[in-house]
C-alpha cells in the first residue's frame, strides 16, 4: 500500500533520510501474540503499517464441518483464550437459535454471572497489557493478581483455569459447588480498590496521558466502516452494546439487569462511583478513551455480577444440562452475534439435517478491529505503534482462527 506521495515543492533543500522497512513481529514482546507489522518508517515517523496475520491459523472452521455442535465447544474456548466463557456463550446461543431451544431462567442468570466475571478477567488483561506496552510493569502485576482470583473461582466451578468448556448448547456443564457464590461475593467486595489503584497509576498518570491521549484517533464513521465493535467503537462515542441492542434471544438474558453502556453520551461518561475526569488533550476515539472505556466496563460488569448472584440464589431448582451429543441439526442457517469483551463475536451455523454442521463461520471482533490499524498508524511515531495496537486489545487466536 503506497503512502500518499509528498509533492516535490514541499521539499526545499531537505536532507532526505532513507526510508526503512522495519518488521515488528511475529516474535515481538508487544504484539499480543504472533502478529507481524511491516512498518515503512522515515526515521521515527511511521509512513505505513501493514499487519500480516495467519501465523496462528488452525482452520477452526474446517474442523467445525467435521464435529458435532457439542464436540466443537472446546474449539470455541481456544478462539479468544482470554475470554473463553463468552466464546462458549456465543456458540451455545447460536446452536439454541438454530434448534429453537429455550433455556431456564436460572441457567440464564448463571450464564450472565459467569460471562460477566470472564469479561472482568479479559478487560483486566487488556488494560494492563497496554500499560506494559508503555513501560509501566507494576499495574500489570496488580491486574494479574486479581485475575488469578477469578481463575481460581472458575477452577472451582468447572475444573479449568482458562479454557472452560462450561457454557454448552442447552445449558451449563455443572452446577456451582456449595459456597461458590459466597466466594464470588467476597471477591467483588475486595475488588473495588483495585480499580481505584489503576485509575491512580495509569488513567490520571501524566506520562500515560501523554503517551495515549490523541494517539491512534478513530472517527465514528471510520470505525463503523472498518467494522470495529466493542470498546473500540464505544470509545469513538457510538453508544452501541449488543447486550442492550442485540437480538432478543441474547438481550433477553440482560433484560432485568441495571448497568450503563460505557460510552460517552452528550459529552459525558456514565458516572459509576468515583471516576477521574477526561484529560483535556484526549480526543474522542483515541487510545486513552479505549483504555478508559474498558476500565468503566470492569466496574459495570462487577455490578452486574453482584445482581446476578442475588437473582441466581433466589431461584429454586438447578440449571439445565447440555443437549444430547448426537442431536440432529435442521436444514437451515442461523447467525447470531453476542457482545464479547473484544467486540461483537458472530457465529454462523448451516445445518444439513445430520448431526454435523455443513458450514461453520466465526466473525472475530479483533479481526475487524485490527484492520483499522493501517488507518491509525499512518503518520504516528514508532513508539506509538505499541500504544495503538495495545489499546485495540487484540488476541491473535481469535483473529487467525
Amino acid at each position: 500500500m503506497q503512502p500518499e506521495s509528498v509533492s516535490a515543492t514541499q521539499i526545499e533543500y531537505d536532507v532526505q533520510t532513507e526510508q526503512m522497512l522495519l518488521s515488528m513481529g511475529p516474535q515481538h514482546p508487544s504484539t499480543h501474540g504472533v502478529l507481524r507489522l511491516a512498518l515503512r518508517t522515515d526515521g521515527e515517523v511511521v509512513l505505513a503499517a501493514m499487519p500480516h496475520i495467519g501465523y496462528l491459523h488452525r482452520c477452526a472452521e474446517k474442523i467445525g464441518e467435521k464435529l458435532t455442535v457439542r464436540q466443537f465447544v472446546p474449539y470455541t474456548d481456544r478462539l479468544d483464550y482470554l475470554a473463553a466463557m463468552n466464546m462458549n456463550l456465543g456458540w451455545a446461543l447460536t446452536v439454541e437459535k438454530l434448534l429453537g431451544i429455550e433455556v431456564s431462567e436460572k441457567t440464564m442468570h448463571l450464564r450472565v454471572l459467569v460471562c460477566e466475571l470472564d469479561r472482568i478477567a479479559s478487560h483486566l488483561v487488556g488494560t494492563c497489557a497496554l500499560g506494559l506496552d508503555l513501560g509501566s510493569f507494576t499495574p500489570f502485576m496488580w491486574c494479574f493478581r486479581e485475575r488469578e482470583k477469578i481463575l481460581n473461582l472458575f477452577e472451582a466451578l468447572c475444573g479449568a483455569r482458562m479454557l472452560y468448556n462450561y457454557v454448552v448448547p442447552g445449558g451449563v456443564m455443572a452446577e456451582p459447588p456449595r459456597g461458590w457464590l459466597e466466594q464470588c461475593r467476597q471477591f467483588l467486595d475486595q475488588f473495588q480498590p483495585v480499580i481505584e489503584d489503576l485509575h491512580v497509576v495509569l488513567t490520571t498518570n501524566d506520562v500515560f496521558i501523554r503517551r495515549t491521549a490523541g494517539i491512534g484517533v478513530l472517527s465514528p464513521q471510520t470505525a463503523i466502516s472498518y467494522g470495529c465493535t466493542g470498546p473500540v467503537l464505544r470509545a469513538t462515542g457510538v453508544c452501541w452494546d449488543l447486550r442492550r441492542h442485540g437480538e432478543p434471544i441474547y438481550t433477553r438474558m440482560y433484560d432485568d439487569y441495571q448497568f450503563h453502556i460505557a460510552a460517552q453520551t452528550d459529552g459525558r461518561y456514565p458516572q459509576h462511583g468515583r471516576q477521574p475526569p477526561v484529560p483535556g488533550s484526549a480526543v474522542l476515539g483515541d487510545s486513552w478513551h479505549r483504555f478508559y472505556v474498558r476500565l468503566l466496563e470492569i466496574g459495570e460488569s462487577a455490578a452486574v455480577v453482584r445482581q446476578a448472584i442475588d437473582k441466581y440464589s433466589r431461584l429454586k431448582g438447578a440449571p439445565s444440562g447440555p443437549i444430547p451429543m448426537r442431536t440432529k441439526l435442521p436444514q437451515a442457517a442461523a447467525y447470531l452475534e453476542t457482545e464479547a469483551p473484544k467486540g461483537q463475536l458472530g457465529f454462523l451455523i448451516i445445518g444439513d439435517g445430520s448431526a454435523v454442521p455443513w458450514r461453520v463461520r466465526i466473525r472475530s471482533p479483533s479481526f475487524c478491529n485490527l484492520s483499522a490499524v493501517e488507518e491509525m498508524c499512518r503518520g504516528c511515531l514508532l513508539a506509538d505503534v505499541p500504544a495503538i495496537v495495545g489499546s485495540l486489545d487484540i488476541v491473535l487466536g481469535e483473529i487467525d482462527r
Binding site: 522495519l22 508503555l134 502485576m141 506520562v207 501523554r210 503517551r211
Partner: protein, 424 residues
C-alpha cells in the same frame, strides 16, 4: 602506600613496589564498582517486588536472597555468547568494554570520604562529566555493530537523548561549583561540613530547584525510568542490547548500574554534602587526622558509609520511579529537555548568581549588617565565609609540600580584580 612498599623491598625492586601499589588501587576501585552494581541489582529486585505486592528473591543465600546477584552473574556466564552473522565483529566485541570503561572511569574522581579518593583532581567535576559522556560512543558502537535495525534505532535514540541532556546536566552542575568556587569534588564536600543547613542544597532556593532538574537529567543520562527509550522492550525489543547475550550483555548491565551509582554520588557530593551527614558525627567525636591516624581513618570510614548511604538513597528513588511511571516517547523526551530542563537550569543558574551577588554571606549575614553600605565587589573579595573554612588542603597528602597556590587564592583574586578595575 607505595613508599612503605618501596623501602620494604630491595632498593632495586622499587619499580615492583610502585606497580603493586598502582595495581592494588585499581583493583580496589574495580571491586567497589562491581559490588555497587551487584547490590543495586539486588536492591532493584527487592524494591520492585515490594511495589508489585510480591516477595522478590528469597531463596538464594539466606532469607533475603542477597546472593541473587551472584547467582545471576553465574547464570549469565553460563549463557552462550552469540555474535550475529552480519555484525561487525571487532566493534561488536569492543562496545561493551568501552561502555564499562566510561562508567568505571568516573569512580577515579569520585571521593568517598575526605582522604579516600583515588585521584584528587583539581578539576574533578569537569573530568567526571567528560568521562561520563564517553558512554554515548560506546552505545552507538554497539547499536551500529550489531547490524540489526532495532539496535540501530536504539543507538540513534540513545545518541539524541544523552547528548541533549548533557547541557542541562552541566548547567545544574555549574551551580554548586559556582557556590563552592572550585571544581574539586573533595573541596566542594569539605565546604559542606557541619549540620544539615550547611548543605549546598539548602544554600538558596535556586540550588534546591537545580537539584530537582539535576535529578531528572541524571535519570535521562543513565537511561532510567521514564527515559529508558534506548532499551525500550515494548518497541525495540532491547534497543542496542538486542543482539548481545552472555557475558557481553552483563557488562552493559554493570555499566548501567555503575553509571547510576556514580551520577548519584555526584549529586550527593554537589548538593547533599557528600560524606558530611546531617549531624557532623566526625566533628562531634573529634575523629580528625590531627587527633591521630586511627581516629582520622575512623572519621573517613564513617564519612564513606554516610556517602554510600546517600548514593543508595538516590538509587532507590531511581528504582522507585522506574516501577511506577510508563515510558516517554522520544519527541516528548526531547521537548522536555529543550523546553523545560534547559530553561529551568539557566533560570536557576541566573537566580543563584544574583542571589549570591546580592547576599554573598547568606541572608542572615547580609540582613545583619544591612546598615553599612558596602560595594558588592569589595564584599565578595574581602571575606568569603564559606571559602575560608578550608581546613586541610586535599592535595597536601602526607609529606606533600605546603606551597600549593590554593593558599594564595584570595590574594590572586584581589590583585586580579584591582587590575580589572584600573582597566589597563
Amino acid at each position: 602506600m607505595a613508599d612503605h612498599l618501596a623501602n620494604w623491598f630491595h632498593p632495586s625492586l622499587d619499580w615492583l613496589a610502585y606497580t603493586i601499589a598502582g595495581a592494588a588501587g585499581a583493583a580496589l576501585l574495580l571491586v567497589v564498582a562491581l559490588m555497587v552494581a551487584a547490590v543495586s541489582m539486588w536492591l532493584e529486585r527487592k524494591i520492585s517486588a515490594r511495589i508489585q505486592d510480591r516477595l522478590g528473591p528469597t531463596r538464594v543465600g539466606g532469607r533475603y536472597g542477597w546472593l541473587q546477584p551472584l547467582a545471576d552473574g553465574l547464570k549469565v556466564l553460563g549463557k552462550e555468547d552469540i555474535i550475529p552473522a552480519q555484525a561487525d565483529k571487532l566493534l561488536f566485541r569492543a562496545a561493551p568494554y568501552l561502555a564499562y570503561a566510561a562508567a568505571f572511569c568516573t569512580y577515579m574522581v569520585l571521593p568517598f570520604s575526605g582522604r579516600w579518593v583515588a585521584l584528587p583532581l583539581d578539576s574533578a567535576v569537569f573530568m567526571f562529566l567528560a568521562v561520563a559522556s564517553l558512554e554515548v560512543p560506546a552505545i552507538i558502537l554497539a547499536g551500529y555493530a550489531s547490524g540489526s535495525k532495532y539496535s540501530l534505532f536504539g543507538a540513534m535514540r540513545e545518541a539524541a537523548q544523552v547528548v541533549s541532556y548533557e547541557i542541562p546536566l552541566a548547567l545544574c552542575v555549574v551551580i554548586p561549583v559556582m557556590l563552592a568556587g572550585t571544581l574539586s569534588l573533595s573541596e566542594i564536600a569539605e565546604q559542606q561540613r557541619g549540620w544539615l543547613t550547611s548543605w549546598l542544597v539548602f544554600r538558596n532556593p535556586f540550588v534546591c530547584g537545580a537539584f530537582f532538574v539535576f535529578g531528572i537529567c541524571a535519570l535521562a543520562h543513565t537511561n532510567r525510568a521514564p527515559f529508558d527509550l534506548p532499551e525500550a522492550e515494548s518497541e525495540l525489543v532491547a534497543g542496542f542490547m538486542t543482539e548481545y547475550s552472555g557475558f557481553r550483555w552483563v557488562v552493559f548491565f554493570m555499566a548501567e548500574y555503575a553509571a547510576m551509582f556514580a551520577i548519584c554520588g555526584l549529586g550527593a557530593i554537589l548538593f547533599l554534602g557528600g560524606w558530611n551527614g546531617p549531624i557532623p558525627l566526625t566533628d562531634l567525636l573529634g575523629l580528625r587526622y590531627d587527633a591521630g591516624p586511627l581516629a582520622g581513618w575512623l572519621g573517613d570510614a564513617l564519612g564513606a558509609i554516610n556517602f554510600i548511604f546517600k548514593c543508595f538513597l538516590g538509587i532507590t528513588c531511581m528504582i522507585w520511579m522506574r516501577w511506577t511511571l510508563p515510558r516517554l516517547r522520544i519527541d516528548q523526551v526531547m521537548s522536555l529537555c529543550l523546553k523545560y530542563c534547559i530553561p529551568l537550569a539557566t533560570l536557576m543558574l541566573a537566580g543563584c548568581m544574583l542571589w549570591q551577588y546580592a547576599m554573598p554571606g547568606g541572608v542572615v549575614h547580609t540582613v545583619g549588617n544591612a546598615g553599612h553600605s558596602h560595594s558588592p565587589v569589595a564584599e565578595c573579595t574581602q571575606h568569603r565565609p564559606h571559602a575560608q573554612r578550608r581546613l586541610s588542603n586535599p592535595l597536601s597528602g602526607p609529606g606533600a609540600p605546603e606551597n600549593s597556590s590554593l593558599r594564595q587564592q584570595p590574594r590572586l583574586l584581589l590583585e586580579a580584580t584591582s587590575v580589572l578595575l584600573r582597566g589597563n
